[in-house]
């Protein structure tokens, strides 16, 4: 095996440790079959164990291959699961080569550095998942010792650090947690520890837990390295996008989108949601539930806008960053000037939203009677006017038959006259509320659809009535046929009025 530069060598040594730890971890997972979560993890671990077993043998090969390639300055395609070995080496390699920013390769995807960045993105996501799994493991193991700690310290890396510091100690006054946690939480932790129901862990379990903590911390630092590298290269890969949202967020969204060209093809509404957390962890209040925004939430622009404008700012950011990503995917502006102008535009717009409305000017009164009244029309107005229109009863009461004195309320011509209301000879016995014109239209429409009953007659009307002149009178149902609102005195289809012999 070739012995390359010492830096690479030490790094390789670290990686060996890492893979060894992973094997131990997986064995531990397989041992504990009691916990439910462990089973799930165990299943995954089985798969991983298989892969790792296989890959360990493969990756050793790769390591040698990798080294030769490094010496020759070539490019190696990374296997998806052998991240720990190859990609770190490439990262180191690229960092060593440093600022060899060659702009060869018009098509972005062919550029080897770009491919490296894509892989780094995927790698960082996987590392995050791995950290979560390890955190669960540590938590389960440490529950016997200090169950309340998991609810006090939420962040996985902080938890791992604290567990490593406390180890098997029962008395927390001997443990110095300064620098790991904020002081308020240290206080709470110490108080809870004095009343905890946990017991010290057995030695082997403790050792496994500590190893897992080390593993988690190592992964965390590795992730930081990867992200730093991507950030440093982001200015070369996507200058305009990183001018708007910052290199860290740009790296994240390119990673989640699956490449710069994939990001460029997305509509802006999707870009807004990249990286949005869907889960609402139980126990957390939903009063501050975040609206639909993803990684863009972490940008400086978003954080500096007042909360009331955040939704609008988020949409604006998403649209402008999509534009920038499109410019970057075609390498249209390598200097990043478009990105900077877009950023300035965003700032200006947000400023404009925040300025107070213009002061109200007192206007002089209008000249009286100079502005014509705006007359409204339409169905609504007509229906409203119907309520005040002259009813049929009133129309009949206003008319009189020729030669016949009308009845009046007080009798003998005193009081209100009744006109043709209720007089003998009119086809009606009582005047019901006639159908308005609008209602007639509606009724016609319904009739066309043949809803059954034709003409609304109340069930309480009888065809008999007592009139003062003739005694009993029968109503003629046919009389209403030709338009109920028309008075029979004036109707064209009415009959001759009867002349009574006295």
């Amino acid at each position: 095996m070739l012995i390359p530069a010492t830096l690479n060598d030490s790094f390789l040594a670290d990686l060996d440790e890492l893979s060894d730890n992973e094997d131990d971890l997986l064995e531990a997972d397989n041992d504990d079959a009691e916990h439910m979560e462990e089973d799930v993890d165990g299943d995954l671990a089985d798969i991983e164990a298989l892969n790792y077993d296989d890959l360990d043998s493969v990756s050793k090969l790769q390591k040698t291959q990798r080294f030769t390639d490094i010496m020759q300055g070539g490019y190696v395609v990374a296997f998806p699961l052998s991240y720990s070995a190859t990609d770190f080496l490439k990262v180191e390699d690229a960092l060593e080569n440093g600022s060899e920013n060659s702009t060869h390769g018009i098509v972005l995807e062919d550029d080897p550095e770009y491919q490296l960045i894509v892989d780094c993105n995927a790698l960082s996501v996987d590392i995050e998942n791995e950290i979560v799994i390890i955190h669960n493991f540590i938590r389960d193991k440490y529950r016997l010792k200090f169950p309340e700690l998991e609810s006090l310290v939420h962040h996985p890396i902080d938890y791992a650090r604290v567990v490593k510091k406390i180890a098997n100690e029962m008395d927390l006054t001997l443990v110095d947690l300064e620098g790991f946690l904020p002081s308020a939480i240290i206080m709470v932790v110490s108080v809870t520890a004095s009343t905890t129901s946990g017991k010290p862990l057995p030695e082997d379990v403790l050792q496994k837990t500590i190893d897992a903590c080390d593993r988690a911390l190592a992964l965390d630092s590795a992730k930081k390295k990867v992200l730093d590298f991507v950030e440093s290269r982001m200015g070369y890969i996507a200058p305009n996008l990183s001018a708007i949202v910052g290199s860290a967020v740009a790296a994240k969204i390119i990673g989640t989108a699956g490449g710069l060209s994939a990001l460029a093809k997305m509509p802006a509404c999707n870009v807004q949601l990249l990286g949005a957390k869907k889960k609402n962890l139980a126990g957390f209040s939903t009063a501050t539930s975040q609206f639909r925004v993803g990684y863009l939430e972490q940008t400086e622009i978003f954080q500096s806008t007042p909360p009331s404008l955040r939704m609008r700012a988020c949409r604006l950011l998403a649209s402008k960053s999509t534009l920038a990503a499109r410019v970057d995917s075609t390498r249209g502006d390598p200097a990043g000037k478009t990105g900077r102008t877009l950023r300035a535009e965003i700032h200006k717009k947000i400023e404009k939203w925040q300025e107070p409305p213009p002061a109200k000017q007192p206007k002089p009164l209008p000249v009286p009677d100079s502005e014509p009244r705006k007359k409204r029309g339409g169905r609504r107005l007509r229906k409203m006017k119907e309520r005040y229109a002259i009813t049929d009863m009133r129309k009949l009461a206003n008319r009189m038959q020729f030669g016949i004195p009308e009845e009046s309320s007080l009798g003998d011509g005193l009081g209100e006259g009744y006109g043709m209301l209720g007089q003998a000879g009119s086809g009606k016995l009582r005047v019901s509320v006639g159908q308005s014109k609008l209602a007639a239209k509606v009724a016609k429409k319904f009739k066309d659809r043949s809803y059954g009953t034709s003409g609304a007659t109340s069930g309480l009307t009888s065809s008999l009535a007592f009139t003062p002149v003739q005694g009993i009178e029968l109503s003629n149902p046919q009389a209403n046929q030709f338009g109920g609102t028309q008075s029979t005195y004036f109707s064209e289809t009415g009959t001759f009025s009867k002349i009574k012999r006295t």
């Binding site: 007192p362 002089p364 009164l365 209008p366 000249v367 009286p368 009677d369």
Partner: protein, 140 residues
């Protein structure tokens, strides 16, 4: 209040103002700017001048000047302050509940009263008919 509303001291100024105000009601207040009642009236006038500026011009006439005495005799102004209304150089007659239909004597209690009176004048002036302003005196 003289410095806030235009004050007229010469006969010629008054004449030209009456002649030149077209399509607007001209409000001439005859009075002493130091009188208490007059001050109240002037205050009301000043506050409303901006609101009615589209159809009203307001001017104050100082009754202590010599040249103005002609007007006092012509309009028969004895009580001060009095307001005379003009529209298109015509003297507007108004029924304010008193026997005198040529002018408005006294002050207005509220700014809105003055605005109403003046609007009435505008409407009637356009129609060339009599202004009925009884309800504004009854309120007082």
């Amino acid at each position: 209040m003289e410095y806030l509303l235009p004050t007229l001291r010469k006969k010629q100024e008054v004449d030209s103002l009456i002649r030149d105000t077209l399509d607007k009601v001209l409000v001439l207040r005859f009075g002493l700017s130091s009188d208490a009642v007059c001050l109240q009236l002037d205050d009301v006038l000043y506050k409303s001048v901006k609101d009615v500026s589209k159809f009203v011009t307001v001017a104050l006439v100082d009754t202590t000047e010599e040249e103005i005495q002609v007007y006092l005799k012509y309009f028969d102004i004895t009580y001060v302050p009095s307001i005379v209304f003009f529209f298109n150089a015509h003297h507007m007659k108004m029924d304010s509940g008193s026997a005198d239909h040529t002018k408005w004597v006294g002050t207005f209690q509220r700014k809105q009263d003055f605005v109403d009176v003046v609007e009435e004048h505008m409407v009637q002036g356009c129609k060339s008919s009599l202004c009925n302003c009884r309800r504004y005196t009854e309120r007082q």
